[in-house]
Amino acid sequence: MKCDLCQKGDLVSEVVPRLTNIGPYAVRDTVTRDRCPACGETFLGLDALHAAELRAARRVLLEGPAVGTVARDVRKILGLTQRELSPLIGLSWEAISRLENADETSPANTMALLLLVERAMRGEALEGDRGEAVKLSRVS
């Protein structure tokens, strides 16, 4: 495939290391990026970036609690406002705000966010067509 910018070079796919910061954690991973050998420009697809962010979020949530900046960063990676996240994890948006600004959380909150991340990794939409939040299925 020719370079989108110079139209001269044939794009080369490269697997490159990438660090994703989530709260105080830096998660090491790789992404595939296209590079033009003619002009030197690089192209990282937003979907590839999003996938790397979701993988990093999952790893962090498996390691520790979703609290403070971790909770905020995971919500942003999911692309949800506090109000949109509220019905998906069964917390008021005020409680989500406190969660993101405090040092305490519960395992249930972490698990709920982890389930959302895994849904997003499977490509499930977390918002309806008109932006309304879709309820999660009850987890038994």
Partner: protein, 88 residues
């Protein structure tokens, strides 16, 4: 009313690919701008002004947190090429 340039960018971002330059990647990392922030900023943008060298300043949009996020981009064959992101 949405400008034709903004409509074209939003259409290209919806139906094509959104690609980040290395510079845009670095700015995103520095400012904790996520992929979803870029999508939302394009979706909610209100203005697109063509600059020099085919670059287009897309402004008036917000990120997931509701903070202003402007984008300098270029329309390319595959979709939208993000040159850089500019937080408020």
């Amino acid at each position: 009313m949405t400008s034709p340039v903004l409509s074209e960018i939003q259409r290209a971002a919806t139906y094509g690919d959104i690609l980040l330059s290395r510079h845009a990647e670095e700015r995103c990392d520095e400012r904790s701008v996520r992929a979803t922030d870029i999508k939302r900023a394009i979706k909610t943008a209100t203005s697109a002004v063509v600059q020099g060298n085919d670059a287009i300043l897309v402004s008036g949009g917000v990120d997931v947190s509701g903070d202003a996020l402007n984008i300098v981009c270029q329309l390319v064959r595959r979709g939208v090429y993000i040159i850089t992101v500019i937080g408020a």
